[in-house]
């Protein structure tokens, strides 16, 4: 600031006078004006600024350090806006708009609260007539007709998105790239558990986004979610911070960005425009739509890089993931322990030798004291994965290794020879209104 021939006088360490004839004349005029005008504008600015209730009389006169800090605050937020825009500009080429045609709305089977509880359902004390191992999408949500978001995964035309829109099994899927090309897409594979889906389009040399290194995803970092679900060609932006890591049995990180069908399947990026994760609906219970009810609530989940890479390589190869079942129902009378009521045949538990009356006490070495904890320990494990379960029979504990099965691979539940509670009928009554496909 000082130039030759200029005299500098520090005023309160911050504002500097200098000789009017120096090269930095204009700046000095500015400084000079600042001092004089501040006194004129001060009251005006104060009036505009004061909210009478929460400022005491003595505080209106702002200290030097306070106003520097506030200038800096304002400048900081102006700058962040610019960075958000940069992120959108940088990531836009990797986004795709997905449109689907046809397909049915997922049937939310309203539970007939009768029957012993299969895993994944809250125990209730009366017999159930329906297939206990059905896949219920959860969420009670009607999927709308609007477009959804996806992101280019590899340059040879694989697209990652959230599986939530494919619950409808649409007849047709089209993908529109940022350059305007609209292409038909095949659904290569779907992960019902981690809510990802992989599409394939006929395109080459597609630009691929940069992902942030895993250790750079930290709590407190800015997070920017981009989506195309509101229509239009420009992505919508929503911002927040990373709230927690290692959620959903280590499958997702959580952020307070507004995540919703408008940006499911899209990227959650850091402030440099690198992808930290893919936004998906999620909750601590199974179901492809589970978690949708939390949209826009400041609780949103994204699959991080390691998990995406792991799943994507399988999806690419055409392997889908399905909800993993143990193949049992539990005794609803017992709220403080997990007591097996019936074991399907065939099923993972049957293969492991579990019998009615056995208690499940641990999953993967962690205590499970009640049914809710069992669901929490298993809901994110897909069929085909192995888990270690500790059972207890007549006071003796023993461990078994199980490979979770798809529900279509489970056999029927055999008739219970001896009801545990005389008031509960041994054979669940059949319900004629259940469509035939629902039977195991």
């Amino acid at each position: 600031m000082e130039t030759q021939g200029a005299r500098a006088i520090a005023v309160q360490g911050r504002i500097v006078w200098c000789n009017l004839f120096s090269e930095t004349r204009v700046c000095c005029w500015y400084r000079l004006c600042l001092l004089t005008m501040a006194s004129v504008l001060g009251p005006l600015v104060d009036r505009a600024c004061a909210l009478s209730i929460d400022r005491n009389a003595g505080e209106n006169a702002q200290s030097e350090s306070e106003s520097t800090r506030e200038e800096q605050d304002f400048q900081h937020f102006v700058a962040i806006q610019g960075l958000f825009r940069e992120v959108a500009d940088r990531v836009k080429p990797f986004l795709v708009r997905i449109e689907t045609v046809g397909g049915a709305q997922p049937v939310e089977i309203r539970d007939d609260p009768r029957g012993p509880s299969p895993e994944g359902e809250i125990p209730s004390p009366v017999p159930r007539p329906q297939n206990p191992f059905r896949d219920s999408p959860g969420g009670g949500f009607q999927i709308a007709d609007g477009p959804t978001t996806g992101m280019i995964y590899s340059s040879d035309g694989y697209i990652l998105t959230s599986s939530f829109n494919f619950v409808r099994e649409p007849a047709l899927v089209s993908v529109t790239l940022t350059d305007g090309r609209r292409l038909a897409a095949d659904v290569v594979a779907r992960d019902q558990v981690r809510k990802l889906a992989m599409l394939k389009i006929d395109a080459e040399n597609l630009p691929v986004p940069e992902w942030a290194p895993v250790d750079e995803v930290r709590v407190g970092k800015w997070a920017v979610a981009l989506g195309l679900g509101f229509g239009g060609t420009e992505p919508s932006i929503s911002v927040g911070v990373v709230s927690a890591l290692n959620r959903m049995t280590g499958n997702a990180f959580q952020s307070d960005v507004k995540i919703s069908p408008a940006n499911y399947g899209g990227p959650v990026c850091d402030l440099t425009g690198r992808v930290m994760g893919i936004a998906v609906p999620m909750a601590q219970r199974p179901g492809e739509l589970a978690g949708i009810e939390m949209y826009d609530s400041g609780v949103g989940f994204a699959l991080p890089r390691e998990r995406v890479d792991q799943i994507a390589s399988a999806l690419r190869a055409g392997r889908s993931f399905y909800r993993g079942w143990l193949g049992m129902t539990v005794d609803p009378q017992n709220q403080d322990a997990i007591v097996i009521l019936n074991v399907a045949d065939p099923s993972p538990l049957r293969t492991a030798g579990a019998k009615p009356g056995d208690k499940i006490v641990q999953v993967e070495g962690k205590d499970v004291r009640h049914f809710g904890e069992l669901v929490q320990a298993t809901y994110m494990i897909p069929a085909g994965d192995e888990i270690y379960v500790t059972l207890e029979r007549k006071g003796i504990q023993f461990g078994v290794k199980l490979t979770l099965a798809r529900n279509i691979d489970l056999g029927p539940l055999p008739e219970i020879e001896e009801p545990l509670d005389p008031s509960v009928p041994a054979i669940p009554p059949t319900d004629e209104s259940v469509p035939p496909e629902e039977e195991p």
């Binding site: 204009v26 929460d54 400048q75 940069e86 709230s243 049995t249 402030l271 939390m294 609530s297 609780v299």
Partner: protein, 569 residues
């Protein structure tokens, strides 16, 4: 022009370049926030009931494991008063419920199982303004599987808000409104300001037709309100809120007036009358009825408040102590006597530590010179007298020194008697001390000797912690009445000591510094009360001693300036 280049303020429409300095500033602040979140998270508790079912949150405020949460988080645990607290080290710790404040929806707990727990410092919620950045930590929807808290950010979007409770419970008075996302499960968690100090405890959200999900409206009870209730909660008590038993109404354009006053209750007894125009409550200008209700709701029962009103064109000032508001409880709450005794011990030990510091053996003999200044309503000029004070063992005495240096009367106080004798005529029969002089001497004896020399609490039976209070200092200048100064409110830990049938002693220790702020001795037969204040504790030969002792109630108020200390082991 260098000044303009970096400023994106002026370019309203154009896509301005972000300067390197601005960019660096953003990333620097982001890094600061990441570090702040990492520093604060270990002190945030995931609260579970005795069956390990979630979900609420809490925050640790000292290394012994004391923590704050909402009352409604612990309400289901009131039978056994036990639960669990998970910390981000992944472990579950035993949780004990201490004291509760149901009306204000706050409660205190204590974790055990570790030598020093991570904790955070308490901030000043009066400095919170609309627009301030805040961080909320907690366990919404019980999503944490490793007990690490969820971190969300936002800004303060309202202050001095009032949220109705259910009857006399869960009233959020003078609370902070903010838009950082909190959801069911976040209750009891901390609200931090940008410096990482707790300015509120989160516990409430507004909801709309979507159901119990955050829509940008979260509410936190202010830390300054909670501070008033902390002494009682720490001592395992049920802390009740206070009321003036008065109703105010808005008069458009002219503020607030009293429209109803319950006779023989706090407001009326203090001198308020219907029609009085309320100007200030505790130095805060009252803008509306809402504002008044909001502010009054932040005080505990029996708290002293200062009111400034206008009546008939003149301003008047009144002081009142608030009446209790009874909360509704599912089960009657009996304070845990062990917790209470432990807190008495903690407070007294804290005092001893503050005074004696690291001195291994407290001095057994103390002597000091006193310059006593008298103030009175009548005297135009205050007068001064000199005294010599001495405490040795169980014996305390004050000897008057005349202006010419000769010795005057001696006042002696011991367990056996309190007498006044002449130093010039030692054979003269000693005169019985008037009870108020006894009370004054006793107070000093307690402060300088008895409370410093004890090895176990059994030596101090009949002591109990009775909650908190605000220090109402005495001014001794002529014409003064007791008045709250405009400085920051000092919250006290009040320990009650019943000394036989004669005296009811209340010791007020500064909740933050542990120094003795005042002793009030009530002479039960005559109902005469003497208050002795101790101020300006400073270093005297390796220990701390007050510079000023001010007395109200023994004749005219006076102040002793204690000089020339002499200590012998």
């Amino acid at each position: 022009m260098t000044l303009l280049a970096g400023s994106t303020l002026l370019t309203l429409g154009a896509r301005a370049e972000i300067s390197d300095a601005d960019r660096a500033l953003v990333f620097e602040r982001e890094q600061k926030r990441i570090e702040l979140a990492a520093r604060l998270a270990p002190a945030v508790v995931c609260v579970y009931d005795e069956n390990r079912r979630g979900g609420g949150s809490g925050v640790l405020i000292d290394s012994q494991g004391h923590g704050l949460t909402n009352y409604h988080v612990l309400a289901g645990m009131m039978k056994k008063r036990q639960g669990f607290g998970g910390l981000s080290d992944g472990k579950l710790y035993d949780l004990d419920v201490l004291g509760i404040d149901p009306t204000g929806d706050v409660a205190m707990f204590r974790l055990s199982g570790r030598e020093d727990f991570p904790f955070v410092s308490l901030g000043d919620s009066d400095r919170v303004k609309i627009g301030d950045a805040v961080l909320a930590l907690g366990n919404p929807f019980v999503l944490s599987e490793d007990h690490a808290p969820t971190v969300t950010t936002g800004i303060v979007t309202g202050v001095h808000r009032y949220q109705w409770g259910t009857g006399a419970n869960l009233i959020y008075s003078d609370c902070i409104q903010f838009d950082a996302s909190i959801n069911p499960g976040s209750s009891g968690g901390p609200l931090f300001d940008a410096q990482g100090e707790v300015v509120g405890i989160n516990g409430r959200i507004s909801i709309n037709t979507r159901g119990r999900f955050n829509v940008g409206f979260g509410y936190a009870i202010t830390m300054n309100q909670i501070r008033r209730f902390m002494p009682a909660m720490r001592a395992g008590l049920l802390a009740r809120h206070g009321t003036l038993q008065a109703t105010v109404e808005d008069i458009e354009g002219s503020g607030v007036v009293f429209t109803e006053l319950l006779r023989n209750a706090a407001g009326y007894d203090a001198g308020l009358r219907v029609g009085d125009h309320l100007l200030e409550l505790d130095r805060t200008k009252i803008a509306s009825r809402n504002h008044f209700a909001s502010l009054i709701g932040t005080y505990p029962e029996n708290w002293p408040v200062h009111l400034r009103i206008e009546r008939g064109g003149f301003a008047h000032e009144f002081h009142a102590r608030l009446e209790p508001v009874a909360p509704k409880l599912a089960h009657p709450f009996t304070p845990d006597l062990d917790v209470n005794r432990r807190q008495v011990e903690s407070v007294l030990r804290g005092y001893r530590q503050a005074v004696l510091g690291n001195s291994s053996a407290p001095p057994r003999h103390r002597a000091w010179n006193t310059v006593r200044e008298f103030g009175s309503h009548d005297a135009a000029v205050s007068r001064q007298e000199k005294y010599e004070g001495r405490i040795a063992g169980d014996f305390a005495s004050l000897r008057q020194i005349h202006a010419d240096g000769s010795k005057g009367r001696v006042i002696e106080f011991s367990d056996r008697a309190a007498v006044s004798r002449s130093s010039t005529a030692p054979d003269e029969a000693p005169a019985e001390l008037p009870h108020d002089q006894k009370q004054v001497l006793a107070a000093q004896y307690l402060a300088f000797q008895k409370l410093l020399n004890w090895s176990s609490l059994d030596e101090l039976p009949e002591t109990s912690h009775v909650g908190g209070d605000a220090w109402v200092p005495i001014t001794w200048s002529p014409g003064a009445t007791t008045t709250r100064q405009s400085e920051k409110e000092r919250v006290l830990d009040v320990v009650r000591w019943s000394l036989g049938d004669q005296w009811d002693v209340r010791l007020g220790f500064d909740a933050e510094t542990s120094f003795l702020a005042c002793i009030t001795i009530l002479d039960l037969p005559t109902r005469a009360e003497v208050q002795v204040d101790f101020a300006d504790w400073s270093d005297v030969g390796g220990i701390k001693a007050p510079k000023y002792v001010t007395v109200r109630g023994a004749g005219a108020p006076f102040r002793d300036e204690l000089t020339d200390w002499e200590l012998s082991p």
